[in-house]
Symmetry: C2
Subunit: 339 residues, 2 copies
Amino acid sequence: MDDRVPRPPAATLADVAAAAGVGESTVSRVLRSHGSFSPKTRERVMAAAARLGYVPNRIAGTLASSGSKLVGIVIPSLANIVFPDVLRGASQSLEADGYQPVIAVSEYDPLREEQSIAAMLAWRPAALMVAGLEHTAQARALMASSGTRIIELMDLDGPSIHLAVGYSNLEVGRASARHLLARGYRRIAYVGHDLAADTRAAKRLAGFEQVLREQGLALQDRETVAAPTSVEAGQAGLERVLARAKGVEAVYFSNDDMAFGGYFLCLSRGIVLPEKLALFGFNGLAIGRVLPQPLSTIRTPRVEIGAAAARLAVAPFTCDPPPDPRLDLGFELVPGGTA
Amino acid sequence: MDDRVPRPPAATLADVAAAAGVGESTVSRVLRSHGSFSPKTRERVMAAAARLGYVPNRIAGTLASSGSKLVGIVIPSLANIVFPDVLRGASQSLEADGYQPVIAVSEYDPLREEQSIAAMLAWRPAALMVAGLEHTAQARALMASSGTRIIELMDLDGPSIHLAVGYSNLEVGRASARHLLARGYRRIAYVGHDLAADTRAAKRLAGFEQVLREQGLALQDRETVAAPTSVEAGQAGLERVLARAKGVEAVYFSNDDMAFGGYFLCLSRGIVLPEKLALFGFNGLAIGRVLPQPLSTIRTPRVEIGAAAARLAVAPFTCDPPPDPRLDLGFELVPGGTA
DNA sequence: ATGAAAGCGCTAACAG
DNA sequence: CTGTTAGCGCTTTCAT
């Protein structure tokens, strides 16, 4: 913290070259192990670099080579473990290739997403990962014309700009409904969070209702809490459904967090699961597996999605017709014990 | 994905200048609303920029102005919600100031942390946030001599390089012990995850044992699962303690995730909380509050820590003696119902 | 195997 | 208020 003595400017590649008594381009070659140089020269350069505490300036490097090692990641939320999982997969895979993730969080706001995308693009990233397929027209235009590889995550139900990695939320909803129906539940309610912005949750619900309709059924009740997803919201939502709708046999939640809220409400009230009430979630979070009755849910390969996206982000496209623009990593229904 | 037609190179500031019929510096001034220009000129520049779909190149801008709007954030894990919370606070606050977070995850490996720090520094970030006060000697040297503002997070028990924001883990441990003692528990066990790398968990335990010792007591049993923190690990850990140590009255867990594992084990086995066994965690996660018996724990201001760190990261230091290098955001003991 | 020199796209004086 | 001119620190031809 002693800034009183103005610190000498950081060593540059030119300083290293001078100290090693070689040209700048030689230092550049040695430091990137690219091109040819004698072992002897290598020694001297490395020694000089170490001596000066040289840290290469990637900003300058990127500008000169017009090829950044930054990958932009725009996600809607960090409020539950879902996107951190995706981030984890991506960052792990990216790091292995010498890339760095730059992140932005849109809080499920399309406008903020658009601004984040614009901001990311200004860093000329090697690729841009963004959650979902729905974006403002402006954002789509920006991405489509940017020349940057765009990878859309966690949704396959719709057209993608370049590449999409994830699963079908519509199919998730359909599978969930089929499971509940197969278990004999007919009077089913839905408890979800604010759907306006979370288009993926909306698609799951759409798929769910589709299957019900196909069987001549309909949702018994439907509670949409005007708040972001949370255990509290799930609890409050179920509370309202129980107070209102009589004879509900099963509840489909917008995701596991919401379902946990419902689960603990049942526990507190002594509502026996799944006999008196069945619960079904989405995501397959770890905690659901250690509950006295494991939560019935659908597990998604979040870390794998992040990792796959990272691979696509840095992979050179060798083939002229690009690889299949859709990478379906699927999902797994976990029967559990609550439905 | 149609790359067959080689896309024209992205418009540059020079292109905009030419299109608007003004000089480059004028465009630069207008685009950054910095310096003076006539409203008329402004119009023409904005129009030209919009027409060309101009996206400024921050890489070039940074190199020219030697002031990056990137902030590096190096965290140990994304496996639970703790660091995503910090990230959320930081990204929110950073974004408001036009900064972008670049993240790296060390997986609690000091060497990977060191490499991540070096990689981040190469982007010449405005500031670097890093979790904890313990780093390799090399990493410390890198940070100390980088000329970059360093902000260490989530720990105040030890010397910081520049600034530290968080709370005292030692005090957290002490407060936890005092609480359990005050409630009359004497035969106390500890269930934790792999402590070798998680120095903050180790400090909490040290503080906890300190207080026990002051009362002439000692831990009744101590189970350290050789795995990262998780609900499963917490469950397995408590299982072993129960199988081994008889008469344990209370268990102190390394964190809430671990405690949840224990909680649900008790639920499954019909162990009445807190009469037959008391549980105490750390972090104050949301889920703990909706449990039939809210988890007794200590809540930490994670989002606030991220936000405060972001503010320090971008704040110009006006004062010569820098502000207090330690920002203690404290913690709050949540009595709950399990201890 | 190595060096010289020309940029990469922008910002920051400095003139006008 | 606006244009000209140097760089920022590196990579990349292109010679040698």
